[in-house]
């Protein structure tokens, strides 16, 4: 027995030593994990425990050329409930029903839903949020947030655009300048448990948000408001589908106004206006909204009609295909191959010079000139004038020019192109190209954005835009200014004549496709002063009822605009002699 016992003792000792060995290995493993892998696992654990909550950055404002605020922010609140933290669900429901004016069953459903966090309502005004916070009910969360506000409601709605729930621009300048306006969101890092509930005792790490920069644009609130008012008047008077008015500085491409009536309320961009709704009765709501938001000046192409004769004339002058004193004869139509193309005046203009041809907007004259230029040269000038590329305006959704390819341009196509038919461009393309032809031949980039500034108004960045020099000669440009001044003083644009000012311009009346519907787009493009253009105006009335001639219905609108904005822009009246010339020509 004794020997047996010593044997057992030795075996117990061996057993104990083996236990110590194994425990030694485990301690080694523990040391490895807790000293050498500590950083790795700590980081992993922190990543797992920390939840990020964004603190929204205030979006930069949009201000007009005079510092008038066109878009800014107000503080709003988002109300949410955290299911697990609610102690008195009935109280919470009753309180939320009272404060938020939402039906009880809706709130009850959200409060009783088992989720980590449930949003009840966003865009609650600050006072309501503060009141809800004052109840001090556990499980109810009030997060401060910003909401975009547009003080002038529908003013320049299609230009400014609006933002969505995540502070991102949806249309207009809000999209184009999203990255400068947006700012950088801040962050709150909180520690949460496995269900995502914040652990209070752990505190939080804050990273403050950086506000977005303010955007200063070239738009002038007063001009914009006036143009919208005029557009609305014409819209009602002519029962049109829409009316667009663009006001641009042809020297540098700065846009002073871009009205596209009907506008919509930027503070309620998802509410269909009755005008937008009535046009597209059968479309889905989203399509209707898209139609309502559509900026026709930029996103829609149309056949420019006679305003395009400016481009034909410039191309012809540039290549020497025509001289001002060249003689033409108009019998009221012209034969191109087997087609008889009519002039607007069916009785014909008779014998006329090129100057008179443009004054009369005579189709046979321009067809003849167009055929003289020839399709290849014509095409080359289109390219040189920049018609084939987009204008690169700082607005989203710009449509491209729709033009025949060179090999498809026969004599008939060439003839129709010459007076602005059978192809399509956007209004902004027309405005930009004509501006470039009359400003001495510099292709400008149309734009609104001028500079960005921080909260205290210090300029952060001044935008510069590309100018393509010498798209036509100075000589041609001067001749064009002279010709277009003649159109207003002596020809079809006489309805835009303003005493004391030399105005250049061109009218147009184009029939939309299909021709059988007899729908028209009337337009007038004018600029002043004619010898040194400072402001260019394009008025487009789509589908006017009754009289549809651009010279009759658009030119007076442009005239009113000029009459008001020229003095406003401190563009002084011309010298006495020129006003005398005016008198004589009348």
């Amino acid at each position: 027995m004794e020997r047996n016992k010593t044997g057992i003792r030795r075996k117990i000792l061996v057993f104990f030593v083996m236990v110590i060995l194994m425990i030694g290995i485990l301690i080694g493993r523990l040391v490895y994990l807790m000293i050498f892998c500590s950083d790795y696992y700590t980081q992993k654990a922190v990543d797992l425990h920390q939840r990020e909550r964004d603190i929204k950055a205030a979006r930069g404002r949009i201000l007009d050329v005079n510092g008038q605020v066109l878009a800014s922010n107000t503080s709003v609140c988002t109300i949410s409930v955290i299911h697990n933290q609610i102690q008195d669900p009935e109280g919470v429901i009753a309180m939320l029903v009272k404060e938020l004016d939402i039906p009880e069953e809706k709130i009850r459903k959200r409060v009783e839903k088992v989720t980590s966090i449930e949003r009840i309502k966003s865009n609650v005004d600050k006072e309501t949020g503060d009141r809800i916070l004052a109840y001090g009910m556990s499980g109810v969360k009030v997060d401060e947030d910003y909401k975009r506000v547009y003080p002038y409601g529908s003013l320049a709605s299609k230009v400014l655009g609006f933002t969505g729930g995540d502070n991102q621009g949806i249309i207009g300048l809000e999209v184009k300048y999203d990255d400068v306006l947006q700012g950088t969101n801040g962050k709150i890092l909180t520690v949460t448990d496995a269900r995502g509930i914040e652990v209070d005792k752990e505190g939080e790490v804050r990273k403050e948000p950086v506000s977005g920069y303010d955007l200063y644009i070239s738009m002038d609130y007063n001009i914009q408001a006036f143009c919208e008012q005029e557009a609305e008047k014409a819209f009602i008077q002519k029962q049109a589908d829409s009316v667009s008015i663009i006001v641009m500085n042809p020297q540098n491409g700065e846009l002073l106004a871009m009205a596209d009536y009907p506008e919509f309320d930027l503070n309620q961009p998802f509410a269909l206006t009755k005008d937008a709704g009535s046009i597209q009765g059968t479309d889905s709501e989203m399509e209707q909204l898209n139609n309502m938001w559509r900026n026709h000046c930029v996103s829609d192409t149309y056949e420019p009609g006679s305003t395009f004769k400016v481009i034909t004339a410039a191309a012809a002058l540039e290549c020497g295909a025509v001289k001002l004193e060249d003689q033409f004869s108009c019998p009221g139509f012209i034969m191109v191959e087997d087609r008889k193309i009519r002039c607007a005046k069916t009785t014909g203009h008779g014998a006329e010079t090129f100057v008179q041809g443009i004054e009369n907007s005579c189709n046979p004259v321009f067809i003849t000139v167009g055929l003289r230029i020839g399709s290849e040269r014509f095409y080359k000038y289109f390219d040189q004038f920049g018609l084939f590329s987009k204008t690169n305006i700082d607005l989203p959704g710009e449509a491209a020019t729709i033009m025949h390819s060179l090999d498809h341009i026969g004599q008939v196509e060439l003839a129709t192109i010459s007076f602005g038919q059978s192809f399509q461009i956007t209004p902004i393309q027309l405005v930009t190209t004509v501006s470039s032809l009359i400003n001495g031949g510099n292709r400008v980039t149309p734009h609104f954005g001028v500079r960005t500034a921080d909260e205290s108004g210090n300029t952060v960045e001044t935008f510069s835009y590309e100018t393509k020099k010498e798209i036509c000669s100075e000589q041609t440009s001067e001749t064009m200014r002279y010709l277009l001044e003649k159109v207003v003083s002596e020809g079809g644009g006489k309805n835009c004549k303003i005493e004391g000012y030399e105005i250049g311009g061109k009218t147009a009346t184009s029939q939309t496709l299909p021709r059988s519907e007899h729908k028209y787009i009337a337009s007038f493009l004018g600029f002043a002063p004619a010898d040194n253009p400072q402001v260019l105006v394009l008025v487009i009335i789509r589908n006017p009822q009754g009289v549809y001639y651009g010279g009759t219905i658009c030119a007076p609108v442009a005239k009113t605009v000029f009459e008001n904005i020229l003095p406003y822009l401190d563009i002084e009246k011309q010298s006495v002699e020129s006003s005398e010339t005016d008198e004589q020509s009348r």
Binding site: N4, K5, G7, I8, R9, K11, I12, L13, F15, F16, V19, I20, M22, I23, I25, L26, I27, R29, L30, V31, L33, M34, I35, C37, S38, Y40, Y41, T42, K44, A45, V46, L48, H49, N84, V191, D193, A194, R195, V199, E202
Partner: protein
């Protein structure tokens, strides 16, 4: 210092007039048990309070149940400590039969909890028969091996013993494989101590490794567990618990985040108060705290080694060896699992993990060990 305490006690006993029959009681072990249990309760509360509060609305939900079980356990412990351990020898066969019966009953009428059928409901009390089986098999094996001290030197006797306990192992394994492995481990340890041979056990170990390999091959889900063990980060659900445990251990660092400061216990480590409690100890008390706990267990095992060495008979020695191997196996397996040293298998950390049945029977075992310590004659004390 321990020697001093015992010898002083010895002197006082000697003044009672019976110098040859000096009574011994291992207070060191008792203090270690009490300390471990109190520490366990603190850690259980720290680990479980957050989830208990959100799940049951009572932060002390698990603590209360554990304290109840612990109090019953204390009664068991003192009862068993005061009854001479030889009393139980006669119930060896009954213990075997009861193990078979109870573990069999759990298969037929067990209560399902957390997806495994391990509990037996008797009136308001539910308990895990497999925990009872551990102590019962220790008593049975101690009594059985004591009767064949010479034969155990033969390999055939070892096989015979294993064959005898095989039915119990199989019945336990059906509902709780980990416990079956531990019971088998205890049996092997007891036989290892009783046998003078080493080679048999090397052979047995090789056999065991082979069996485990085959075992893994036949069931594909076990292969997944191996994959989860090797690459817990890419194993998805299988590796989730292990990975969360590693995050807890690793983020503890040298001295931990402080008592009660664990974040992993907030639902990240699943059922943190059970098998994974050691990970939270490491997170809160750091490497220092983790090693202290391990050393505390080592101290306990060392005390039991002293008792086993000095037990007055083979039955007592084997009884204590069984108990100490039980503790050692569970501690080693549990810590090996949570540190991802071995593939995941559900083993609780004795005295600390939540589990009423476990703590009650553990304390009963401690009572047995203390009872054995009482039989020691002081002169014979040997380390």
């Amino acid at each position: 210092m321990k020697k001093k305490t015992t010898s002083r006690k010895g002197e006082r006993q000697s003044r009672d007039g019976r110098p040859k029959e000096i009574k011994y009681f291992d207070y060191n072990l008792l203090f270690i048990i009490i300390f471990l249990i109190c520490f366990g309760l603190v850690m259980l509360y720290s680990t479980s309070s957050y989830t208990a509060a959100s799940k049951f609305g009572d932060a002390a939900f698990y603590l209360k149940k554990q304290v109840m079980a612990m109090m019953i356990g204390f009664v068991f412990m003192f009862m068993l400590a005061s009854i001479p351990y030889t009393f139980w020898k006669q119930f060896a066969v009954l213990a075997y039969a009861a193990s078979v019966a109870l573990c069999g009953a759990v298969i037929v009428a067990g209560r399902n909890y957390n997806g495994s059928q391990r509990w037996l409901q008797i009136g308001p009390i539910s308990f895990q028969p497999s925990e009872f089986a551990k102590i019962a098999m220790i008593v049975f094996l101690a009594a059985f091996i004591e009767r064949i001290p010479k034969q155990i030197a033969k390999f055939s006797a070892i096989i015979k013993v294993l064959a005898i306990i095989a039915p119990v192992l199989i019945i336990i394994a059906i509902s709780n494989l980990s416990t079956a492995i531990i019971v088998a481990g205890i049996a092997v340890c007891m036989m290892f101590v009783a046998s003078p041979k080493y080679s048999h056990f090397v052979a047995l170990a090789l056999l065991g490794i082979g069996a485990v390999a085959v075992f893994i091959m036949i069931e594909s889900y076990r292969l997944d567990r191996i994959k989860a063990w090797l690459h817990p980060e890419t194993a998805g659900d299988d590796g989730f618990q292990t990975l969360q445990g590693l995050y807890a251990i690793g983020s503890g660092g040298l001295f931990g985040k402080g008592l009660g400061q664990s974040i992993q216990k907030m639902g990240f480590v699943p059922e943190a108060q059970n098998d994974m409690i050691f990970t939270i100890i490491c997170e809160e008390l750091g490497l220092f705290g983790g090693i202290c706990v391990i050393l505390l267990f080592l101290l306990m095992i060392w005390r039991m080694m002293i008792i086993a060495n000095n037990a007055k008979d083979l039955f007592g020695a084997l009884l204590v060896v069984g108990i100490m191997s039980h503790i050692a196996l569970q501690v080693i397996l549990n810590i090996a699992v949570v540190t991802n040293t071995i593939p995941n298998t559900g083993v609780t950390l004795p005295f600390i993990s939540y589990g009423g049945t476990s703590i009650m029977f553990l304390m009963a075992e401690m009572g047995l060990a203390l009872s054995v310590s009482k039989g020691i004659r002081l002169q014979n004390i040997e380390g």
